[in-house]
Amino acid sequence: MEGKKAGAKRGPAVAQGARRGFLRGAFGSLMALGFWALGGAGLLWTAAVGRFLVPNAPAGPPTRFRAGVPGDYPRGHVETRFQARFGVWVVHGTHRGRDQIFALRSVCTHLGCITLWQEREGRFVCPCHGSSFDRQGIHREGPAPRPLERCAIAVAEDGQLEIDLARTFQEELGQWEDPASFVEV
């Protein structure tokens, strides 16, 4: 009984709805305007929450730092003191017969472990799968498929080496020829 009644009542309601114009339906009543306001507030709220969740002050060390003057680096020297904080080895090595100071990322090119400098062997050795890289960063043993990456390095206006961790250079792409990847000495 009740079901029939409900069905009978729905008929005229739908017909009335069909007759009502779209604009009247969307803006014609306080209720409709209220829903628009609610929707607008919801959108603004969602945008604000999205922005709130994006940190404004990223944690971690700065991406640029100074690493002393070129004179601090004798030929063949591998400087390890920046590794813990910034993740780079600063090396005075040679590339294609030229003397250069460059910054090698300590991340192994195999699966991303952190390599360790072994002074006695003159190699960066990865503890995970035994890859090793020579002083210049070229892969010599193990599964690593390519040399270590370089970070951008330049001489700043105060004469110090400035390293920019945000820019990297890959040997296999020929990017080690880029003057931003080394400082000539």
Partner: protein, 264 residues
Amino acid sequence: MGLGRRIGESQLWRSIFRHGPPRDRRNRVAAVLTNLVLHVHPVAVQKNALRPSFTWYMGTIAFYLFLVEVVTGVLLMFYYRPTLELAYQDMLDLRHVVSFGVLREIHRWGAHAMVIVVMLHMYRVFLTGSYKPPREFNWIVGVMLLVLTLLLSFTGYLLPADQLALWAVTVGSNMAASAPLVGAEGPGHQLLTFGEAEMITPTSDARYLLLGARTVGEETLNRFYVLHCVALPLLAALLISLHFWRIRKDGGLAAPRPAEEEEA
């Protein structure tokens, strides 16, 4: 209306909403009864019971504020770290560094407002006699919710971990030490002594349990954080549901007594 109707009659829609559009009484009843959130409410209320001058809407506003506190509180948890070293700085960062960190202000003012509104709600229920049978148990649930509201405020007060918070909680928790029976400085704690063994000592009484230490410190901050963010809100949500459900079970919203005569 073609699209709306097609959606409304699609299998997906009908599998979620078992009733038709709420245009008639039967479907309006079904809309409330078949909804997890709404079914806690009475299906129908007397128009008179909704008169603003009668209800002040304080219960609704208190619930709304609770929702505001839950939403803003969860968002604050994305930045706040509850350690003495970091908490204060994180709180300041919410104000000065984080975009829309005003959420922290909303959370704080919402908490203040909630205490006031809950008390006004209690006052209204008292003035309108809405605590009388058959609603006497719901009054008791309401008192528990009042206590929970105060405890939520109290535990939240420590979280900025500034001097104000530290000393407020020191004072507040000293009250626990003075509580009868369970406080080490309270009356009657000697009664809980078995032979030589005293049960209630400064390192086993209510205050110690609350602080997790003899004075307010790292342990206290962690305890209050967990109480504030997990334990108390869960309990409050449970009791709020019970509170609403009891309105329905106790015969709907209380209405002014002469309502029928006036309307007739």
